[in-house]
Amino acid sequence: MNIPVKTWRFHGGVHPADGKALSNSVPAQRAPLLERYTVALQQNIGAPPKPIVAKGDVVKKGQLIAEAGGFVSAPIHAPTSGTVGDTVEVPGANGGTIPAIEIIADGKDEWGSGLEPIPNWKNTDREILKKRIAEAGIVGMGGAAFPTHVKLSPPPEKGIDTLILNGAECEPYLTADHRLMLERTEAVLEGAAIAAKILRVDRIFLGIEENKPDAIAALREKAGAYGVTVVPLHVRYPQGGEKQLIYALTGRSVATGGLPMDVGCVVQNVGSCAAIRDAVVEGHPLIERYTTVTGTPVVNPGTWILRLGTTVEQALTFAGGVKERAAKVIMGGPMMGFAQTSLGVTITKNSSGILLLQWKETSGYTSNPCIRCGRCVRACPMKLLPGPVSVMVESENYDEAERNYVMDCMECGVCTYVCPAKRPLVQHFRRAKAEINAKRRAAKAKQA
């Protein structure tokens, strides 16, 4: 399908040096089986899953070890066959600690998920497919980790007419989705077709940044068979932001505080689509994912197929360790990822990358005053006023910040990237959002 599709240009954005050349030509490698996996028990947004195995239990690869803790929750499965070990605490990628279950591998790596393959999904009931996706524990693998089956159950009055596949991968350095689209092209497209069947839509766009010509070519070759339109997009961060992507592909803008389904769209990450296909066609739950291990200090940067529960330390060992002193270890990309203080963090369903940066490459923040240059205002994809709002937050004037729509900030980091005074703007906004949310909760508690 080579028909040019009209695209729209969102406000602002930046084009950072993308660093993708480090790893985008390296085929993804399957990581060797480890002796022990530490599977974190909170890998999705929403209710934490409840563990259903005890120490000493024997589990098969893909067997359920924690069931969903509610509708907005996703179950967790054993990454390999073996015995259940201790329940330990691991550092979470975005702070704090989370409980985790150790799985000690027996080396046989035997499947036993108990999920029957549904190769003939075209003639299968939508509800069965949706249930399968929920059972397979699939979440948004781009970063937010929102359970996929919830996304695929929009209220009928929303009138969903478009399924958007997010293959933009606008974060610099990350190439996991790129490799995935190149190597598992049909899996992505078939998963998208399954999702489209569940949603009853026939308009499927795949938004992909133009810096992945090989993936675009591969996708285009096969997309027609699945009814997917591949739309190359400008290379501009944050092209893969949900609201920006919808706007770029359909010209619809999601209202502040609204959701994509308000404008008739559902956005799925390409990784989630491949996982949907695996869950339905193969009966395999989500136990591994494409993760980029990259950065200039890494000896062999590349994309790895890592099982959930692999620690960052092990993943870095696969990649040969570091050749230069790394100042930062980041889970995710350089724009929105989280800096880590320990290597004990584990790979979860939304770990798109492990990025190491040298000191000279990272940002050093200062407490310099805002010089009102207005670059952040020009660059903000949400059309906010980052500079002035950060000054309001600095003087703890959260009401004023709220009136200036700080809650619409999606923390994409564009403002901070362009700030010549190197002010930690995103941190200010996170602080403001946390304070305002706390205030709202307090107000709500008072009302109740």
């Binding site: 803008s253 360790g321 050749k323 800096a339 005053p369 949400m382 619409d408 010549p420």
Partner: protein, 350 residues
Amino acid sequence: MSEEIEKKTVVLPEPGSLVLSTSPHVQDGDSISKIMLKVLVCLLPAVIASIWFFRFNAVRILVYCGAFSVFAEYAWSLAIRRKPTVGDFSALVTGVILALNLPPGAPWWLCMVGSVFAIIVVKELFGGLGQNPFNPAAAARVALLVGFAGPMTQWAAPVTGELVSGATPLGAVQLAKGSKEAMAILGSPENLKALFLGNVGGSIGETSALAILIGGFGLLCFRLIKWQIPLAMIATIFVFSGIVHLAAPELTPGPVYHILSGGVMIGAFFMATDMVTSPMTALGGLVFGALIGVLTCVIRIWGAYPEGVSFSIVIANALVPLIDRLCYIRPFGWHSHSASALQIRRGEIK
């Protein structure tokens, strides 16, 4: 076995030595000092033109103002025990712009008073770079005009360096007021050409519209200024003075004369656009520029001062917080019909 050995030689980052900060973890390479250096580069054409036309006088004033400004900033940093901030070059930029705003006959002490006033009173007392509500160079020029009217009108003919008074294009307008014919002579093509190239009397850096345009083009290319401000300012002056010229040709020369003469060009590109003291939004920039244009014309045509650009800039600077307040931008996804979404956001309905 070999695998075992390999595993041991793998070097991993040491926990405890890692840097912790919020995202984003990369930034573009720009910094305040780089911005100021770029501004200095863009000032080069005007500086060269000033030296070309006013020779030693220009060199003298540029050196004085630059040195006094940097020294004032350094001394202030020492006085309040702060890490010296001269490294960001903002003081040098202020000094150079102020120098370009001084007449060729300005004595050394005028340069000193102006520089110290600009740096200490207008900038540092307000907290330094980024905190000052008024443009230091414009405010200093205003202060000098008000306080030292005599030395501030030590004009000289270009190239020859002969000191004369009342020899600026705008001074000529004041003299020609009331005479339609005199105004027509002022607006003649030869006259306009001289104004464009800068071969006329005036402050050392503001005579050559051509040189400033080259620098302004540079500023726009570096994306250091909002194009809205100079555009709105120059367009407003053009329209406003054009209308007055058509209605009363004896009162003022044609609009092109106004744009090319005096401090309009340097004001539009280098002073009004000062990022610290101009509005942040595009719409705000348009309003701001138009306001300066109107005030400039009013002061020039009806006021006692022949030139009103720096007065207008300082007054408009004072209005910037108000402009910022009124010319806000709506966030992406703000629709007038999304009231319910707004309410959800405010927590009014769940």
